[in-house]
């Protein structure tokens, strides 16, 4: 971590709004990738990211070591993804109460889903079938372009473990996708 980055994190921790904004913009995609790796199937990524943004502002002052920003953000993201299970159940109840069918072909959400390409949807669905231990390194490598060394630092595991999880996970992912294309 450079001195400039460390200074930015320090200012953000002490409540500097512009520093917080800069940090958030720098790490937003990365946080989204972590959420994607740990979210319950079907959970809305924007909603989860918004929740992390709130925690980021509220709790950043607790960070004492600037070099721990990414591990801290990862922990926040994982906790947010896990607690979202309970909230999604609440939302389902509310929607049922209003007699609104979220799968209604005329609903905006259904439109959003249709707008996504089939291949991308299939890839995301296949990723959901992988264990998180495999999913996270794949997403960090393929979506964030992180090196195995950096992924190892973030996950707190040896680099060889990351290489193994990537290799095994990719094979599993390819199999799942192939199975979805040819169910037989």
């Amino acid at each position: 971590m450079t001195d400039a980055t460390a200074d930015l994190v320090h200012r953000a921790c002490t409540g500097d709004r512009s520093a917080q904004q800069a940090l958030w913009e720098e790490h937003r995609r990365w946080v989204a990738t972590i959420l994607l790796a740990h979210r319950p199937a079907g959970a809305d990524l924007d909603d989860l990211l918004q929740d992390v943004a709130v925690v980021f502002v509220e709790r950043l002052g607790e960070l004492r070591d600037a070099t721990r920003l990414r591990p801290w953000l990862r922990t926040v993201a994982i906790n947010t993804a896990r607690t979202s299970v309970r909230r999604s159940k609440v939302q389902t109840r509310a929607i049922t109460g209003l007699d609104v069918d979220p799968t209604d072909p005329q609903s905006e959400r259904a439109d959003d889903a249709r707008a996504a390409t089939e291949e991308a949807q299939a890839a995301l669905a296949a990723l959901d079938e992988l264990p998180p231990d495999f999913r996270e390194p794949i997403l960090l490598r393929s979506m964030q372009g992180m090196s195995q060394q950096r992924i190892a630092r973030v996950l707190g595991v040896p680099e060889t473990t990351v290489e193994n999880r990537l290799a095994r996970g990719r094979k599993l992912l390819a199999r799942v996708l192939a199975r979805k294309e040819c169910p037989k």
């Binding site: 924007d46 943004a53 709130v54 502002v57 950043l60 609440v90 299939a122 979506m143 990719r170």
Partner: protein, 246 residues
């Protein structure tokens, strides 16, 4: 669980990290078992699909901004309760998506421009007979508006007091369908829900969507003059159909 040798080699190829010796080893494996090439192809396809999915999904998250916070000094910030609770922040992001989608904004601008240009917004309330208070039944109490005056003797300008929200909505549906202005009512869209503190109830924010029809001589859209002032610009019919709105 350790990956097999062929899985490691394929993964290195995907990462463009494969050395010449890795390629040679992979080729030797493929000579013994040609399905290695198929595995490599499948893995490439999966990798590309994941990257595309990431671009599609992560490309849409720029709208997720930090919530506002009160000055906090050193230590934890206090996120503004009024504007940035998670549910409300979420609500904002949903609103953005709703407003941004499907040409609704264009339709709204065009409608507003037409209303403005036609002077419809300057006339007293209930000028449209379908919404006139006199049609709402005997329980309705109406009062004239001294400042604007009634639109006509039978339709005073302002209705006050006793009409309920549900009554008004029901009347809107009934008379709208009778007169052909209300074409359809689309399913309600839930924007957000959040538990109510201290009770088992939920607050639900939802959007009603009505499809209406009207006939006009000319449709306008808002344009801007060189000096920055707004101006209503007539819209050609072909241009309208191209847009898919209205």
């Amino acid at each position: 669980m350790n990956a097999s040798r062929d899985e490691l080699l394929i993964s290195r190829v995907l990462d463009a990290d494969a050395a010449a010796s890795d390629w040679s080893e992979l080729e030797r494996m493929a000579e013994q078992d040609p399905t290695v090439w198929r595995d490599l192809g499948d893995s490439f396809r999966a990798e590309i699909a994941v990257r595309n999915a990431g671009e599609e999904l992560l490309g849409s998250i720029r709208a997720v901004e930090l919530p506002a916070a009160h000055a906090s000094g050193y230590g934890n910030a206090q996120v503004s309760h009024a504007a940035t609770r998670p549910q409300q922040a979420t609500r904002s992001s949903h609103r953005g998506r709703i407003i941004g989608g499907a040409g609704w904004l264009a339709a709204l601008v065009l409608l507003c421009a037409w209303l403005h240009a036609s002077g419809a917004t300057q006339t007293p309330k209930f000028e449209d007979d379908s919404l006139a208070p006199r049609r709402l039944g005997g329980e309705l109490a109406v009062a004239g508006d001294a400042a604007n005056g009634p639109a006509n003797s039978a339709a005073p300008a302002v209705a006050v007091g006793v009409i309920t929200f549900d009554d008004a909505l029901s009347h809107y549906r009934t008379s709208g369908r009778e007169e052909g202005r209300l074409v359809n009512e689309l399913p309600m869209m839930v924007v957000d829900t959040q538990p109510q503190a201290g009770s088992d109830q939920l607050e639900v924010l939802y959007l009603r969507r009505f499809l209406e029809r009207t006939t006009v001589d000319q449709v306008y859209e808002l344009g801007t003059r060189d000096d920055g002032t707004a101006v209503a610009v007539p819209v050609q019919y072909t241009k309208l159909t191209d847009r898919g709105s209205l």
